[in-house]
């Protein structure tokens, strides 16, 4: 579950954002729609605790995380938040399997190869586990990053334009997998996008 109240952030005196309040319970989904320059990515980074808000509060799993120290925040992020970026990025020197295991390693948890294997089968790239990530197509890469975001059973999954670089077919596939998998682990799914194709997929929507 993730809740934000009265979030504000500014990069400079001219570029100031005041975000609408957000609430997304466990197993629920939320679509945040907005055009470029409206602060979509900024909001996502605030929710992902990658940026500190100027004012306002964020609650993750009912804990106020805005008051934590930066090392505590790192810890909360590692354990409770799975992030999917607009373009899938990986540790290029590692195999697909090792990339999926990275969140386990950095969160200090057991590296669960079986789970990685299971997710790979569910998301349809089990044949590619030993390959390097750059040998995969865009759609496959995005599915790998979904698997990666699920590895620590996070409380919240944040997706930043997860479908914008995909064709219609892949877009449909990826968003379905995302909804299905986050529901399976009981996480809140927050998708930030300008992709109008996703409008009909989500009942809860917020416009920036």
């Amino acid at each position: 579950m993730i809740v934000s109240k009265n979030l504000q952030f500014s990069y400079s005196s001219q570029k100031h954002f005041h975000f609408p309040d957000i609430s997304c319970g466990n197993k629920e989904t939320l679509l945040i729609l907005g055009q470029s320059g409206k602060g979509k990515t900024t909001l996502l980074h605030l929710l992902a605790l990658l940026l500190r808000p100027e004012s306002g509060e964020i609650f993750i799993a009912e804990n106020n995380v805005t008051t934590l120290t930066s090392s505590q925040i790192t810890n909360v992020r590692a354990k409770n938040i799975g992030i999917i970026y607009q373009r899938a990025h990986f540790a290029g020197s590692l195999s697909v399997m090792d990339n999926i295991l990275l969140p386990n390693y950095f969160a200090g948890q057991k590296q669960d190869k079986e789970k990685a294997q299971y997710l790979a089968e569910q998301l349809g790239f089990a044949d590619h586990l030993a390959k390097k990530t750059n040998q995969l197509s865009q759609g496959e890469q995005q599915r790998v990053s979904i698997a990666r975001s699920l590895m620590n059973n996070p409380n919240v999954i944040l997706a930043d334009e997860p479908t914008s670089s995909l064709d219609d077919n892949n877009c449909q596939k990826v968003i379905e997998l995302l909804k299905k998998q986050s529901a399976l682990i009981g996480a809140s799914l927050v998708v930030v996008t300008h992709d109008q194709r996703l409008k009909d997929e989500f009942s809860n929507q917020v416009f920036l």
Binding site: R77, D98, F106
Partner: protein, 411 residues
């Protein structure tokens, strides 16, 4: 999955860059290590044989040549001197020991040296089988000679004239092996020792036969033997003084009052090493430059790859990696290159020493066979680590300045 695995994967990902960095380190460290090995072993070989010999007398010429030929048996002798002059030195109160040497023949490239029993005594060479030469034409050979040539007690052989195997054979008179020395690690190992009289006997005979040929060819070492003189001659003599005063008095006396020259091994060898030293210093300087370039190469390679991997780093940070953890991950890449470079460098220096030793053995019968790690090489290891660490740390510090949000948002 751990940091080591990621670092290794990163090095493998940039194979050519890693190879270049490791190669430069290998080259630099290999060179320094080889120089250390050669320096130490040459030094040891030279000093071991010099021990206890205070002065060498022989025919006038280059003092260094006299030392090299008489002590180390690696250069041509300067000529001959009358035995009577050498023997006269024995009466000098400053002189403790006079060991006459007579050279000029070889068997299969191993020098035959006519001398007295004092010579093996001086090098503490013990007989391992048979006995010391006694009669004319009897020889006792060093362990390496016996091993290499496979000669046994009672075998006979004909010597060749000159100092390499290609000389004319003294076919008529044959030497007989009566004893073999234990290995001493000194020059004795590579010599065939016989009595002075053997050398005189064998040459009296040939000289009569070849007198004309010899006189036509003044370059030939035989011409230095002045065959028409009846007086007995030797090539040189090793001298031990009774006390250090001799060092001051005797050399001048000999140089001024006799037909001989006196050479002091310690001075000549120091001179030789200072000549070699210039070359060694130059090579060492070159090796240090190569190592520094290796450091720069590690720096550039990590700096570039860090720029490329900025997003990757931000990604790992967003997954919960600490900056310190990533910093160590990057350091490890530098350290691994250092270790790879060091280990291969040390291996290459041993191979180099082995090749050098083969060559030295063929030419001088000296072998350099200590492949153990030198204490200096431990410092070399530390230096390699420091260079790897520094070269990796400078670009890796950037990880502490990385703005996660901006880096992730940029692409």
């Amino acid at each position: 999955m751990n940091l080591l695995k990621i670092s290794t994967a990163n090095l493998k990902e940039k194979k050519l860059n890693s190879f270049l960095s490791a190669l430069l380190l290998t080259l630099g460290i290999g060179m320094i290590s080889l120089l250390l090995l050669l320096n130490k072993q040459l030094d040891e070989q030279f000093r071991r044989n010099i021990r206890g010999i205070d002065m060498v007398v022989g025919a006038k010429g280059s003092p260094l040549q006299l030392i090299l030929s008489s002590i180390y048996q690696i250069d041509a002798p300067t000529g001959n001197v009358p035995l009577s002059e050498v023997n006269a030195l024995k009466k000098n109160p400053f002189i403790k020991n006079v060991i006459p040497l007579s050279m000029g023949d070889n068997y299969q490239g191993f020098r035959i040296v006519g001398t007295t029993s004092k010579y093996p005594d001086h090098f503490q060479a013990k007989i391992s089988s048979g006995k010391l030469f006694d009669q004319s034409m009897e020889v006792t050979m060093g362990s390496k000679v016996a091993n290499t040539l496979g000669l046994k007690l009672g075998d006979t052989f004909a010597s060749s004239h000159g100092l390499d195997a290609a000389g004319d054979k003294h076919g008529e008179k044959k030497y007989k092996v009566v004893g073999i020395f234990e290995a001493t690690g000194s020059v004795v190992d590579q010599l065939i020792l016989t009595s002075l009289s053997s050398v005189w006997d064998i040459h009296e005979h040939t000289e009569d036969q070849n007198k004309e040929a010899v006189e036509e060819n003044p370059e030939h070492p035989e011409s230095m033997a002045e065959p028409h003189e009846d007086e007995k001659q030797v090539t040189s003599a090793l001298i031990q003084f009774r006390n250090p005063m001799g060092l001051i008095m005797i050399p001048r006396q000999i140089n001024e009052n006799t037909s001989m020259q006196a050479a002091l091994p310690s001075i000549e060898i120091n001179r030789l090493f200072s000549l070699l030293g210039i070359g060694i210093e130059t090579l060492r300087g070159l090796a240090i430059i190569i190592i520094v370039i290796a450091g720069v190469s590690v720096f550039i390679s990590l700096y570039n790859s860090l720029k490329e991997r900025k997003y990757e780093m931000a990604l790992m940070l967003s997954m919960g990696a600490t900056r310190t953890k990533l910093f160590f991950m990057l350091l490890m890449e530098g350290i691994m290159l250092s270790i790879i470079g060091y280990v291969t460098g040390i291996i290459f220096s041993r191979i180099g020493l082995f090749i050098f030793s083969k060559a030295a053995e063929q030419d001088f019968h000296y072998s350099l066979k200590e492949f153990s790690l030198l204490p200096e090489e431990i410092y070399l290891f530390i230096a390699a680590l420091v260079i790897g660490l520094l070269a990796a740390a400078l670009p890796s510090l950037g990880i502490y300045k990385l703005n996660i949000s901006r880096t992730l948002a940029e692409e």
